[in-house]
Symmetry: C2
Subunit: 127 residues, 2 copies
DNA sequence: TATATATGCAAGTATTTACTTGCGCAAATT
DNA sequence: AATTTGCGCAAGTAAATACTTGCATATATA
């Protein structure tokens, strides 16, 4: 029950994303969070524990309460991962756009055969 | 085995992230992907199925092969979710910065008691 | 001090994962 | 026509998840 535990896995659960949304606004205690959900306090507590393990939040004791504070900077890992593809995608969009525009200018002339292009099957069975 | 299935869950698995990384570069067939991993072809195939269900990739048949093509735009959902917090975090960083700077200018004078600040416990037990 | 409150810990359960192995089939290759 | 190749389907398994209920404990509060 403690093998993989990274930020990606942490935000995979919708309840945990909702929790992040709550504590991102303001630091609140465990019960206040639990009240917002239909699941038991224990279940929420476990989610908080997971989030804390992933360093997505900070729990500090204040009397009998435990205040949960978001550590949004830990989402950077996800941000960077997604961003590389986001950029790649936008790049391709504009590339496609200019391709189409160029195609409109010189129709049917020097178009190469890019039909069997995607076929990069590994014929070499090296296993 | 088909309850929750969203993009966040899809990218939670490191193998699936690796697969996305592979097909983002170029469209390749199932076996070529499977060869890159230590797990069985079936396991990879299942990951691909999950990714396809989440619309993160397109599988099209070409003869006896199945070409997997990335649909990076589907990562937008994740991008947007993370980005809101990314922005929020950066915002707070600069807010903190200007606070510190202001603090340095007028030391100890009008500093409010922001010690018991975080304590917004819901005293009203409405359940 | 007795009681209510905030919360953790432990044990137990139903589902879901992530895999595996074995089989089958259709499209290429020989 | 026979064989190889690419890949899905199905059944089975081990481990992880997401929860629950019950109990314990420390801190406020009446």
């Amino acid at each position: 029950m403690e093998t993989r535990r990274d930020v990606f896995q942490a935000i995979a659960d919708p309840t945990r994303r909702a929790i992040i949304g709550m504590i991102a606004k303001q630091t609140i205690n465990v019960n206040s969070i639990a009240e917002q959900f239909d699941i038991s306090r224990q279940a929420v507590s476990l989610h908080l524990k997971i989030l804390a393990e992933c360093d997505l939040l900070n729990i500090r004791q204040l009397g009998r309460e435990r205040l949960c504070e978001a550590k949004l900077e830990k989402l950077n890992e996800v941000h960077e991962w997604v961003d590389q593809y986001h950029k790649l995608w936008k790049e391709r969009l504009s590339a496609l756009k200019s391709f189409v525009e160029q195609e409109e200018l010189q129709p049917k002339s020097t178009k190469k055969t890019n039909k069997k292009n995607a076929n990069n099957t590994n014929k070499s069975k090296r296993k």
